[in-house]
């Protein structure tokens, strides 16, 4: 009788964990990678819309108008941002991304009437030129940060944290610190750049209030000032940012992406976007600031359904990073040049990965030319092709958003409300404080009505 092979995998020490321990033992180093959390988390997928029925009238899909106009920064700024859609492009640096990509994002955002955002490393002339509405980030590193670009910006985003790594600084490994990147950041070429996790000239909310005032003074109180926080103690952080004088709060949940961060941060620090959004909205409502201070949510927003759910829960707009990279062709087996598709499988293999699994933005060897400073690789992304793809993606999201809004009987996407949603899981119901489908039960809220 042949022997039976018994392969019982340990739940605690599964193959993934064993590989982690082997790797750590071989190198003595933690892993650094790009993109966002890969683990399964409660998310917008766990919510569904109730839509109109006998008690609500839906709107005709293609005939009746559904407004998507979005205004950000109405609290103090003389010139608030007016967008055609509530979907913006999140901050991603030139350095992490190639100049071609930055240009493509600017073009796509401009054509769709929305904004794009600089990143750690400053503003490139290409992105300023191609972006009608450009948000300029003020980060702890202050790489390339200067008053001329500050005045050229349409809004300022003071970054306290990022969802992928709240409490952590930035990294740009030497492969990506090309001559141009190094010059913009005042660094030696090829150095592994570490960015600070704290701002150099303020700590705490009272200092932040003075810092915000300084930025306003320098720009004549014209531009909206956003404050971006990584989702952790979101309820308190949002309150402090409002107290410090923010016009707009950006909350980035733990599904948010990064160009290069320790895996331990990406997978184990911060709270899911769903939970963070509810805390942020609660904080604004608690301060009677809903509608006065606008809220942008980011961190794993992928589809029009995600956007609609975020708006229904109380966000004024969303910001998308990783979704935009995928739309440019991230993790695609091919890249497009002169209208033809070419295989990038060999380059994925060089990185010990394959299309669909890649998170190797930190290496600077992006097989499809997105997150690279390599002169040859970056040609794999034609800005015109990239702009068209991103525009199509944003257009699709917006169409899905308005489809859902009309089905819920809303003539304006900003009229979507929590009452339109129910949760499919107990976890999502508890985090979003939305009733479990088919019940009026919200875990932890027994006895209280919504």
């Amino acid at each position: 009788m042949s022997k039976r092979l018994v392969l019982e995998e340990s739940a605690s020490f599964n193959r993934k964990v064993i590989e982690y321990i082997h790797r750590a033992s071989a190198t003595g180093l933690y892993e650094i990678r790009g993109m966002g959390a890969k683990r399964s988390l409660p998310s917008f997928d766990d919510l569904v819309f109730l839509a109109a029925s006998a008690s609500r009238y839906p709107l005709e899909g293609y005939r009746e108008k559904c407004v998507t106009k979005t205004v950000l920064g109405t609290r103090f700024a003389k010139k608030p941002i007016e967008l055609d859609i509530p979907i913006t492009i999140a901050g991603m640096s030139f350095g992490a991304l190639s100049a071609n990509v930055k240009e493509a994002l600017g073009r796509a955002a401009t054509e769709m009437g929305t904004s794009t955002t600089t990143g750690d490393g400053g503003m490139t002339p290409e992105e300023r030129l191609s972006s009608k509405t450009l948000v300029y980030q003020c980060l702890p590193s202050r790489y390339g940060f200067n008053p001329d670009d500050l005045r050229k910006a349409d809004a300022i985003e003071l970054v306290i944290g990022q969802g992928a790594k709240p409490g952590g600084g930035g990294m740009l490994l030497g492969q990506k610190v090309s001559e141009r990147v190094a010059k913009m950041r005042t660094l030696p070429v090829g150095v592994d750049q570490r960015s600070a996790c704290r701002h150099p000239d303020w700590t705490g909310p009272d200092d932040l209030a003075i810092k915000i005032q300084e930025l306003r003074e320098i720009t004549e109180w014209e531009k909206p000032v956003y404050v971006k926080i990584g989702a952790t103690r979101t309820f308190n952080d949002v309150k402090l940012a409002v107290h410090a004088g923010a016009d707009v709060i950006v909350v980035d949940g733990m599904q948010g992406g990064t160009a290069a961060t320790q895996t331990v941060f990406i997978e184990h620090v911060g709270i899911p976007t769903l939970a963070a959004l509810r805390q942020a909205v609660d904080a604004l409502e608690d301060m009677n600031m809903r509608g006065k201070v606008q809220l942008i949510i980011s961190g794993g927003i992928r589809t029009g359904a995600d956007v609609a759910k975020a708006l229904a829960m109380g966000a004024d707009a969303v910001a998308i990073g990783q979704g935009i990279l995928y739309s440019l062709g991230c993790n695609s087996p091919t890249y497009v040049q002169n209208g033809e598709h070419f295989s990038a499988e060999a380059e994925y293999a060089t990185l010990n990965t394959a299309p669909g699994y890649c998170h190797h933005c930190h290496t600077g060897k992006c097989p499809v030319g997105i997150t690279t400073q390599d002169e040859l690789l970056e040609q794999r992304l034609d800005p015109a092709v990239g702009a068209k793809r991103v525009k199509n993606y944003l257009k699709t999201l917006n169409m899905e958003l308005t489809t859902v809004a009309r089905a819920c009987g809303k003539s304006n996407v900003h009229h979507l409300e929590r009452e339109d949603l129910v949760a499919l899981t107990v976890e999502a119901a508890a985090m979003a404080r939305i009733p479990l489908a088919g019940t009026d039960w919200i875990p932890g809220m027994e006895g209280r009505r919504f």
Partner: protein, 227 residues
């Protein structure tokens, strides 16, 4: 000389005047009275004008300055001349934390002491301090020079990139990757030029040079992340 009195106008009115009227009317000298520790005085300047602030300033005096020559006849709060691009800021008294933080250019002169993190993240600015500097000065400083005529606190030059520090007195401790290096003729000349610019009468021969050992420039498998 034009005079603006902060007991009569707001900081917003002051800065609007400095940003708009000063270049439009080609004003070359102006004094600010009764600053009383107010924040954000003369920040965002972009004109070749001499500004005398007669008293103490709060946070971010001369922040992001370009071209202007600003003298504070008193002490200043956090982040004086933060992210300065060009021009000069002189503090007759003492400076609080993060003086000259992330400055890209120009000269910051502090006649008294500077507190913690002086020159943090600096990117090309020159800072000359007549007194001593606090802990963690020049943390992650990328370019430019810091001259300290007194002593330096703990962790001087932690995680330095290409900035160079010259200290006349005692250094309590050096930060990670900072090391003392021998002074060269070029260093003596640089210190002399900076002292002359500041108007400080010290002997360049008494200064030590601190720069990056560059061991953190590339991610090191043996560093064990405990640096």
């Amino acid at each position: 000389m034009e005079s603006l009195d902060l007991r009569k106008i707001s900081v917003r009115e002051l800065n609007r005047f400095l940003h708009q009227e000063v270049p439009a009317r080609n004003i070359r000298a102006i004094e600010i009275l009764n600053p009383d520790g107010k924040h954000n005085l003369a920040c965002g300047m972009d004109a070749p004008v001499k500004i005398d602030i007669r008293g103490h300033g709060g946070y971010y005096v001369g922040g992001m300055n370009k071209q202007a020559e600003i003298t504070v006849h008193g002490n200043v709060g956090w982040g004086v001349a933060e992210n300065m691009m060009s021009g000069c800021v002189r503090v007759k008294g003492f400076a609080s934390e993060s003086a000259g933080a992330s400055g890209h250019g120009g000269t910051l002169i502090i006649e008294g002491d500077a507190s913690l993190r002086c020159g943090i993240s600096m990117k090309g600015i020159d800072i000359v301090v007549g007194g001593s500097v606090g802990n963690f000065s020049c943390f992650m400083a990328q370019a430019g020079r810091l001259v300290v005529c007194g002593d330096a606190g703990d962790g001087l030059g932690d995680s330095l990139y290409e900035a160079v520090i010259y200290v006349r007195g005692k250094i309590k401790s050096l930060g990670a990757d900072a090391r003392e290096e021998p002074m060269t003729e070029a260093d003596y000349a640089a210190v002399k030029e900076l002292l002359d610019r500041a108007g400080f009468d010290c002997d360049p021969k008494e200064f030590k040079r601190v720069a990056s050992a560059k061991t953190l420039y590339n991610w090191n498998a043996d560093a064990n992340q405990e640096y």
